[in-house]
């Protein structure tokens, strides 16, 4: 194929367009550059929010006020949640790796609407900056929790409007990215790439994009209604005016439950790419994985009520939502089984990306099964709004989506920068991260079951041990994180030159040079066979 570095090869990093210097990034409509700009923005905000997480843990080293007062603590977990959810994990993988690799993996030169793509980056930055600004401007940091439950959020004297507006804008950015991806996948696949010859990471982005397009507007209008409630005195959710606080919860979770699948589906897509490559073996059950992605997106739409089991919903709602919550676990189970079967019988090379992918499965299982404990009616009554929930979602978001992200960055790093990082340091950093992670969040399951509520600035003395162990874990975790990041940053310019295909992958991004040229492909490849074809000949099934 005519896609190896030729005479005219210039990588996208060195490419000179109309603009020079920083502007050649800020005004670039190249999907790869936009992906990288998302990456840097996300990392910056991520460190801010991770630091806030650490601050909470320090505060909880001992009962009573230690380094901050209750108001500060409430502000911190709110902004920690808002940044983590709306600024980092929801856009995270789609905007970074999706932008960078979706067009390449389906054999296109760019996304369908490159200008719109750049526009949504700017929207993203606007929203993110507004979110951070809410901390400093006016009446003090918002203190409502990332869920903005009314009536409190309609009454709190803090900068709630900033945070609401930020979330609204970020939602719009997310919608535009999703819209762009759907059209790209529909219209721009390389010749011969039928739907079922498409790799699985694009498939997961496709399912995600539909949720982004169809669920985000609901939270948009909901946030607008809260803004109207605060500024215009319209009483949609205010019981004093006949409004209904539970209606807000419905509307909020109609979006925010599907949103958790916006977070996890692309993460699942990443590990689905990694297992075949490092096993040198086709992915097991391609069709099943495709169907389960779509099933998660579709069924995931109708389980929102499991966040409201104790809110006083009708008996049959509780029944219905609990039932569907259990159903939506099945596609996740199918994926897990297919991943481990992909490794079975392969030629396995335990490089950092695979290491992260395997720990992803482990942590995701713990997160998922504790999710089932939350989805069951009887146990949810006991566990709702305790630290058990906090542990559940940190395991599944950060253990799941976070570790998948780390797997992805170690997997695609050579492609993005054309350099290799140090494997040894990456492995050590993984060890520290993994240990710190479990130490940080596992105790929260236990004290959660014992009845420690979440969003508590202070706690009863019987929870001290768990809280302290957890806080120690936070320090270990953060050091692992710093080591990992340092490894990646240091080798960006100084690492060994990476070949075009360091892991012997077979998806399209490995057929082009590292880093890819501006136009991705000199010649758009024609696809003649199934994806994940490792052997020259494959035995008949």
């Amino acid at each position: 194929m005519n896609n190896q570095p030729g005479d005219g090869y210039i990588s996208y990093l060195d490419y000179q367009g109309k603009h020079r210097g920083i502007l050649s990034w800020l005004l670039s409509t190249d999907h790869k550059r936009i992906g990288l700009m998302y990456l840097y923005a996300v990392i910056i905000f991520f460190f801010v929010a991770a630091f806030l997480g650490l601050a909470m843990r320090i505060e909880k080293m001992a009962p009573g006020p230690d380094i901050m007062d209750a108001q500060t603590y409430n502000g911190i977990f709110t902004i920690h949640g808002v940044i983590m959810v709306f600024i980092i994990v929801i856009p995270g993988i789609s905007a970074i790796f999706g932008n960078f690799f979706l067009p390449i993996m389906i054999g296109a030169r760019d996304v369908a609407f490159p200008k719109l793509n750049l526009f949504s980056w700017y929207l993203y930055i606007t929203g993110a900056v507004l979110g951070v600004l809410s901390q400093f401007a006016g009446d003090g940091p918002p203190d409502t929790g990332w869920t903005f439950y009314v009536p409190y959020s309609a009454e709190s004297a803090t900068n709630v409007i900033y945070a609401l507006t930020a979330a609204f804008i970020l939602g719009f950015s997310s919608i535009l990215t999703g819209l762009n991806f759907i059209v790209t996948i529909h219209r721009m696949r390389a010749p011969g790439m039928t739907w079922f010859r498409m790799p699985l990471f694009p498939w997961s982005l496709y399912a995600t994009a539909w949720i982004q397009v169809l669920a985000t507007p609901i939270v948009g209008i909901t946030l607008l209604m809260v803004i109207a409630e605060r500024t215009l005195n319209i009483g949609f959710f205010d019981p004093a005016l006949g409004g209904d606080p539970l209606l807000f919860q419905h509307l909020f979770w109609i979006y925010s439950h599907p949103a958790v699948y916006i977070m996890i589906l692309p993460a699942m897509g990443i590990v689905t790419e990694i297992f075949p490559t490092f096993s040198q073996k086709p992915v097991f059950g391609y069709g099943a994985i495709v169907i389960s992605s779509i099933a998660i997106a579709a069924v995931g739409y109708f389980v929102w009520g499991h966040h409201m089991f104790t809110s006083g919903m009708s008996y049959w709602s509780r029944w219905f939502f609990s039932f569907l919550t259990f159903i939506v676990a099945i596609p996740s189970a199918i994926k897990v089984f297919n991943w481990v079967s992909t490794m079975y019988g392969g030629a396995i090379d335990l490089k950092p990306p695979l290491l992260y992918a395997i720990s992803f499965i482990f942590l995701f299982m713990i997160g998922g099964f504790t999710g089932l404990a939350l989805g069951s009616l009887a146990t949810n009554v006991h566990l709702h709004d305790t630290d058990f929930v906090v542990a559940h979602f940190h395991y599944i978001i950060f253990g799941g989506m976070g570790f998948a992200f780390f797997a992805g960055i170690h997997y695609w790093y050579p492609k993005i920068y054309g350099r290799m990082y140090s494997n040894r340091i990456a492995n050590i950093a993984w060890g520290i991260l993994f240990a710190g992670f479990n130490l940080l969040y596992f105790p929260l399951f236990i004290i959660g079951i014992q009845g420690m509520p979440r969003r508590y600035f202070d706690y009863l003395p019987q929870f001290t041990t768990g809280q302290v162990i957890s806080s120690i874990g936070a320090f270990i975790l953060i050091s692992g994180l710093i080591l990992m990041t340092a490894n990646l940053i240091y080798h960006r310019k100084r690492g060994a030159i990476a070949p075009a295909n360091p892991w012997k992958g077979v998806t399209l991004e490995w057929l082009i040079p590292s880093p890819p040229p501006h136009e991705n492909f000199v010649e758009i490849p024609e696809i003649k066979h199934k994806p994940y074809l490792f052997a020259k000949t494959e035995p008949k099934e």
């Binding site: 109708f302 919903m313 008996y315």
Partner: protein, 94 residues
């Protein structure tokens, strides 16, 4: 070229569609004058749905678009209907 690129709606056709829509508007106004009670909501919404259907098909040209687009639009309305129904599982049985 797909069907949608070859089909051009004719003026007369569009004018007739408008007439139908105006007629339905008149109908719904008259019907509410009659006060059917609870039923009138239902009737008004049915008429509105028919109108929306017509707008989608002719003004928005869906009748001549690809099957994919038609399916997607249908799916979106079904999804919205399901959301309403699921929400009302709570409100009806409270």
């Amino acid at each position: 070229m797909s069907k949608s690129d070859t089909h051009i709606s004719r003026y007369r056709e569009l004018a007739l569609v408008l007439l139908a829509l105006l007629f339905l508007t008149l109908l719904s106004v008259l019907i509410t004058e009659l006060h059917f009670g609870a039923l009138s909501v239902f009737v008004a919404l049915t008429v509105a749905s028919v109108k929306v259907f017509i707008v989608l098909l002719y003004f928005m040209h869906l009748k001549f678009e690809s099957l994919l687009l038609r399916l997607l639009v249908g799916m979106v309305f079904v999804l919205y209907g399901l959301i309403i129904i699921v929400t009302f599982i709570d409100y009806f049985f409270r």
